[in-house]
């Protein structure tokens, strides 16, 4: 499990239906040490891995094989909040 997935009390899982599907993430987050937030967008392929953090559960999916990412984004995967993820072929 990655560093992110292990930080909060979490239940990992695997969504076979979504594994291998292409998806876009309208992502972003707080910028450390500032009162600002930033939007950032990704396109990639869902690995199927997810984690549910805490209660009520906060679900995050791992988006890998990134085709589109912010300029200079390090790494080839990003955790995406489920409700900010738009999966191809899903309404």
């Amino acid at each position: 499990m990655s560093d992110f997935a292990s930080r909060l009390p979490s239940v990992p899982g695997f969504d076979a239906e979504r594994a291998g599907k292409r998806a876009e993430c309208d992502g972003g987050g707080a910028i450390a040490g500032t009162r600002y937030a930033a939007r950032e967008e990704f396109t990639g392929t869902l690995t199927g891995e997810y984690v549910d953090h805490g209660d009520p559960p906060w679900r995050w999916y791992l988006l890998g094989r990134l085709e589109r990412r912010p300029d200079g984004y390090p790494g080839d995967a990003v955790w995406c909040l489920a409700e900010n993820l738009f999966v191809e072929g899903e309404p």
């Binding site: 972003g28 707080a30 600002y36």
Partner: protein, 368 residues
């Protein structure tokens, strides 16, 4: 005209007199706007859970039963984070040299203390969760998610009698949040301060209104005057979200130097720059943004590296109150901020101007 055009479904939902929402990081502004008949939201992204709890209780002591909101930046995506030391070690020498060049050229002093950025340690999502828990425990009347979808906590909030607002920059995100059951959608356009979506306010607001059904839509981005308020209502919004407008208000705890800069600034004095954080954000121009826009500057780093690089400059400018170096996030509506007025007067001026605009259009007075 008869009916008061400023009395919208947002007013009915919140029990407020005017459909004006102030977004601010200053709790004195929150109390003043709420007591003036508007609605106000306190941005608490950088505060600890204990501080948020104390702020909620402080606001309640000043506004009684009147509603107010608390805003957090719920993350929507999360890379695996490195330690601060590892992050600092990854900044290329070329970029360190350019930052040193700016420091020397403008005689930027050393920060007085250790940097707030280095002390915060908040490069993970645990913080947002702890912040959220105290907001639920304190039953803040309204919770606003400034970024990630709040869908996962809607049930918990509604069970506590709270309302939940979602701020979005794209119509598809609005649709997703409306379907999940958020109470209000804030559609934020490109004119706004800080980090915005790519779509202009005049386009995103009616696009979201068209799919929102009965969910009130609030217009954000560049809204600064009564004329903007009237225009937003004409676009189908049920209210406006205003941020820059309050930065130079009498109650704002912003440094007087920043307030003077805001009063003097026009939209042309703002710049959409990546040089501060690595993400494009709208701020007042300053030596840091101007130097990174020159052809001699290396390519801006991505976040969080650029933020780590700029934090020295920012903290030194603020610690030493160097007017020539300081800056603030500001929207394009900054042109209309021409004095440091009390928040109550800002609300009243906005209302009066909006009503006079409707009167101009219809030729009739409203029953207010």
């Amino acid at each position: 005209m008869g009916r008061n055009p400023l009395h919208t479904k947002l007013c009915d939902m919140l029990g407020i007199d005017f459909p004006i929402i102030a977004f601010t990081h200053c709790k004195d502004v929150v109390a003043a706007v709420v007591n003036a008949g508007g609605f106000a939201v306190l941005g608490e992204a950088m505060h600890t859970a204990d501080e948020i709890g104390a702020d909620i209780r402080w606001i309640r002591s000043r506004v009684g039963d009147k509603p107010f909101g608390i805003d957090l930046v719920l993350p929507a995506s999360a890379p695996d984070a490195d330690t601060l030391e590892t992050l600092l070690s990854k900044i290329p020498d070329e970029h360190k040299r350019f930052a040193a060049y700016i420091k020397e050229k403008y005689n930027v002093p050393e920060p007085k203390g250790s940097q707030a950025l280095h002390q915060w340690g908040g490069l993970n999502q645990d913080i947002a969760r702890k912040q959220l828990e105290v907001i639920l425990d304190e039953r803040a009347p309204v919770f606003v998610s400034g970024l990630g979808s709040p869908a996962f906590m809607l049930k918990a909030a509604h069970e506590r009698g709270m309302k939940v607002f979602g701020l979005i920059g794209k119509a598809r995100q609005a649709k997703r949040e409306i379907e999940a059951g958020v109470d209000v959608i804030i559609a934020q356009g490109y004119d706004a301060a800080g980090h915005t979506g790519p779509i202009g306010t005049f386009s995103i607001v009616p696009e979201v209104v068209a799919i929102a059904g009965d969910t009130p839509v609030v217009a954000a981005g560049g809204v600064t005057t009564g004329r903007h308020l009237a225009a937003s209502l004409c676009l189908g919004a049920a209210g406006v979200w205003t941020g820059t407008l309050w930065l130079a208000s009498r109650e704002s705890d912003n440094d007087m130097i920043i307030k003077e800069k805001l009063v003097a600034a026009t939209a042309d004095d703002t710049v959409y720059s990546k040089s501060v954080s690595g993400f494009a954000m709208r701020v007042l121009k300053c030596p840091w943004t101007e130097e990174w826009a020159t052809s001699e500057a290396p390519r801006v780093l991505n976040s969080p590296y650029q933020m780590l690089l700029s934090s020295d400059y920012i903290q030194a400018a603020n610690d030493h109150r160097r007017a020539d170096l300081m800056f603030e996030a500001a929207g394009q509506g900054v042109s209309f901020i021409d004095s440091m007025k009390p928040a109550k007067q800002i609300v009243n001026d906005m209302v009066e101007e909006a009503l006079s605009v409707f009167e101009e259009i219809t030729g009739e007075s409203a029953d207010v």
